[in-house]
Symmetry: C2
């Protein structure tokens, strides 16, 4: 192991951080692997505890590492990256990445729409909606908690929605109701994970998440789905090209 | 005041919420206004404390209202909405909305790039960068805390950057260095406001924020700026059209 450069203007913790980062990037340490303890890093690199602590701390803050109380520090799994350059379906995107999308439908019911659902779906006064709550997983890991609202006029038989576990919602809307979703509007806001969400998403209350508001339109430019998603911030990342 | 419909299937708290929401939307209550107290709502609408509480609580959670400890509940200011459909400059966007953008340059210094800055700016090994930290405000309200990293080869005289208060960074790069920024990549992640950030952004530690990572390119498709922004989640909202 090449020693750190004690005479460099680059602080030792920063040099150590770069070394650890490199071990992750070249796959020496893989996602889920436990990294060397502070004591071990102090021995190997001849640094103080503070230096080892600070290097690890920055990698934790940047999301490359995560701590498990009483167990140690581990290499994070890479986040799911989602491009906002075009219309996407979460389950199709996962499948393209070779991952296995599963949806757990938690609840399907008819509800009175809230003001935002009513405006989003351009509903007539008094028109009800079908709400489907589902937990969206990638390889059985919960990633997104989602509530989709659809006009009752579109979903004539709501029991069909329980098939969403097997098929994607958009495929189902196409096959059953001849409704083809072609575009969407999406808005993003950062929020904190709340109590009920933390249980379902298997994460902690107060962790950062994205609230995604989507309105999806069919080929007649009619809004057919208004959807509120809570996306785990530690597992997803959105990016776009601005030209 | 029309009474609530006690016989309706729509819960009373939901009816009350819609009434309060309507008063905000029609401008009866304006941003910054204190709304009626729970007691007053109970009197006016003949509802229980729980009903009044629940209606207010939902509007707080949705961001239409906010509470100030010991003072009452107030109408939120509308969030700044930023489209991700094309390349934008924060100061130009604010100006187009009739708002006055001000940038407070906090620090300009030469630094050794971190690994992500080095990759983002495609730097040669050993090449340093100029870091500019600034607080971006709209009508003097702090909205974004931003660190821009630019190659030293682009910024020949870093004192020029102190003029960013008066002119936008991109205008300055154009006028001084003939560097025209034409496109950018942006990535979004939800984070929590940290201690130092909370003081500058005049918000609380642990509040939700967006971490925006931007790489901006010039007409030769060279990365000229790598930028990390902390955007107040209670003041900004990003949206896009997915086609």
């Amino acid at each position: 192991m090449k020693p750190l450069d004690q005479g460099s203007v680059i602080p030792l913790y920063h040099q150590l951080k770069q070394r650890l980062d490199a071990r992750i990037r070249i796959g020496d340490w893989k996602p889920g692997d436990k990294i060397d303890s502070e004591n071990r890093l102090m021995d190997i690199f001849h640094v103080s505890r503070n230096t080892a602590k600070k290097a690890i701390e920055e990698l934790v803050q940047e999301g490359s590492l995560y701590r498990v109380q009483g167990k140690g520090t581990f290499v994070s799994r890479p986040k799911f990256e989602q491009s906002l350059s075009g219309f996407y379906s979460f389950s199709r995107v996962l499948r393209e990445k070779g991952l296995h999308p599963t949806d757990r439908v938690l609840e399907v019911k008819e509800v009175t729409p809230s003001e935002s659902v009513r405006i989003g779906l351009q509903l007539a006064p008094g028109e009800n909606v079908i709400e489907m709550k589902r937990l969206r997983c990638a390889n059985d890991e919960p990633i997104i908690l989602e509530s989709s609202f659809m006009p009752k006029s579109v979903i004539q038989d709501m029991s069909v929605l329980y098939e969403v576990g097997k098929s994607s919602l958009y495929d189902l809307l196409d096959e059953r109701y001849n409704v083809i979703v072609v575009r969407a509007k999406e808005a993003f806001e950062p929020v904190l994970i709340r109590e009920g969400e933390s249980v379902l998403l298997e994460t902690e209350i107060g962790k950062p998440a994205l609230l995604l508001e989507r309105t999806a339109y069919d080929t007649n430019d009619q809004p057919v789905e208004y959807c509120i998603s809570i996306v785990r911030g530690d597992r997803c990342r959105f990016y776009t090209d601005l030209v």
